[in-house]
Symmetry: C2
Subunit: 369 residues, 2 copies
């Protein structure tokens, strides 16, 4: 698999930081991982104009050094035994300087107070510096997300044919998660959604219960895999048995909106415009009120990240963005239908990383082997 290009990232972040601060204290673990390759559960990065220092605790010193060396990142590791010792190491690394930027959305108020008491610098809250760079995926990242998609595709191909047998939501979830693990996933990318029937499927974020999947009901399955730290995200919706005219019409409507959305994805399109493509298609058929969430979001080391795609979002899609396109309709009494693919923005439009067929609401037959 194509390697991650981690070493150049610090330079990109320094360039983006510019003269807004002399150094950046990175607290968010996904940002730390993206900058350094370090995947532990506790770590901070201080990025100065000429240094990258990672501070962690005793569990992770060797791991951090090994992962950064493997990534070709030129950095120093410093290890503190306690939270207080780690703060002191951060302060010692920062040294006296005029301004230190910190991630205000990723630092608690209590942590901010601790920094204030030890840092010899004016603290400036500054968000999104790393995220703005992290948003653009390199080839190695896209390969990992594609692999996570492949795993979820393969798991769903195994499990979807079983919907006709009347399993419970929880059983379907369990089978999907087991399959993904067996196919090489670190685990599910998020809490797998399996939602069926007139009440559960009407909830976009329903958690699987022991409700049994019944003939005539809609089933929404939202499933992704985690692979080498990278997420995938896909939704398929089914009707068990022969769909009613309403079920078929609404499936076609959502699918049409989703296909239009995927076809519209291109560098230069605004996220608001992309949202409107899907939303207008559903609203034109009179179901605008049934589409109760945004059209999509970025996916990478974090399952929900920029670029968010919704009515209120206002970003311009760029080459290297990886985003979901996932319109849906939901109504108590009817249930729900959502179709979601994960696509990467390319120089000529976009390429779907999700390969599961979506042309029909009928569960596939078991693969013939």
């Amino acid at each position: 698999m194509e390697p991650l290009q981690i070493a150049p990232r610090a330079g990109r972040v320094r360039a983006r930081l510019g003269d807004r601060a002399e150094a950046l204290l990175v607290s968010d673990l996904s940002n730390v991982r993206w900058l350094t390759g370090f995947s532990g559960s506790n770590g901070w990065v201080v990025l100065t104009p000429d240094e990258l220092v990672l501070v962690t605790d005793g569990r992770y010193g060797d791991q951090a050094a090994a992962q950064m060396a493997a990534a070709g990142v030129d950095a120093t590791v410093r290890v503190g035994a306690t939270a207080g010792a780690i703060n002191d190491l951060l302060a010692d690394t920062v040294k006296p300087m005029a301004t230190l930027a910190f991630e205000a959305r990723h630092v608690t108020y209590a942590q901010f107070q601790a920094y204030e008491s030890v840092m010899h610098a004016r603290l400036v809250g500054l968000d999104g510096v790393v995220e703005a760079e992290r948003r653009t995926k390199d080839g190695g990242e896209i390969a990992r997300i594609a692999e996570a998609c492949r795993i979820a595709d393969a798991a769903l191909a195994e499990v979807a044919p079983l919907l006709d047998d009347g399993p419970t939501e929880a059983e379907v979830r369990n089978l999907l998660e087991i399959q993904m693990r067996e196919l090489g996933a670190e685990g599910p990318s998020y809490e797998t959604i399996v939602a069926t029937g007139p009440t559960n499927a009407a909830l976009p974020h329903h958690r699987p219960t022991h409700t049994r999947i019944e003939e005539g009901h809609t089933v929404v399955i939202d499933v992704g895999a985690l692979y080498d730290g990278y997420h995938s995200d896909m939704t398929r919706s089914y009707v068990v048995g022969e769909p009613t005219a309403e079920q078929r019409d609404l499936y076609e409507l959502v699918l049409d909106a989703q296909v239009r959305g995927v076809e519209a994805v291109a560098a230069g399109l605004s996220t608001k415009e992309l949202d409107a493509v899907c939303r207008d298609a559903i609203a034109a058929a009179g179901y605008g009120d049934w589409f109760t969430h945004g059209t999509g979001h970025g996916v990478g080391l974090v399952i929900h990240e920029d670029p968010f795609v919704g009515r209120a979002s206002d970003l311009i899609l760029q080459v290297g963005d990886v985003v979901t396109v996932e319109p849906g309709v939901y109504r108590e009494g009817f249930g729900g239908i959502r179709v979601e693919d994960l696509v990467v923005v390319t120089s000529t439009g976009c390429r779907s990383l999700t390969k599961t067929p979506k042309d029909s609401p009928c569960p596939p037959s078991p693969p013939t082997t």
Copy 2:
């Protein structure tokens, strides 16, 4: 199962808050759940002397009202569509008052700034008010934690006999997690640890890999279940095949330290004293350096919570505390051994909620059915 006693909790928190602030803004979701019964992923509570108001987003309004009604909690639900609208609702609920306490460890600096701009009150960072009450488990909570323990016990009883067959760490983890789900768990309580061999088992927090379990190696399995929001936590260690004298001696040493710890647990003992009971037993045999972590921690709606039990902790155990007792020894080249039970402090000492046998490092034989 004994019901949770949720309704009286707000009163206990009000009493503990005393006159330190007129109202408390609760941001931590576990604290919100404990106070209200609401289990959604987005919610805030404002607790005033005569009101409890829960603010959430549109996905959760009905669920919050239903869960609070079921819990007998007298409260108002307010629903905001965006983060800004939610902040405005919180400010409107707080109304002009002198001081509003907020949870400094659970509020980001960015969130604090947003509160500062909308609240008509002086904001006072105040941590641990809810946690100090949440620490003491009622009968319904203990019943749920005991059920989570029972599920993990049963899963390990199924899976431990397979260690002799040479599975990989990841395979053992997968089997344990599948078993727990099938036995009624919502999922694992935390990332299940299966660590084997001279290198992996020497890491207390090792993540399962495709390393195969081999004869002669130590295996550390740290597994818990999540049941109705409550966690369990257990560790058992094994040697596959005939243990060496060193393996047997160290197993006996850790087990002896752990049993002494459990026997010492009683209301009135300090966490530091409990830590010393286990630590001294291991240090007296010359292995003090091999015991590289704390002796235990509280368990409830959160897997690691007060009372933490370690050298630097200084709390007094109380009736209703649920804590782990989990000494261990680790050394590169040797591997590791940890034995952990979850116990509840009672008026006469403690009662173990973990039932898996621990007398031998040899994996159990398959159950004869």
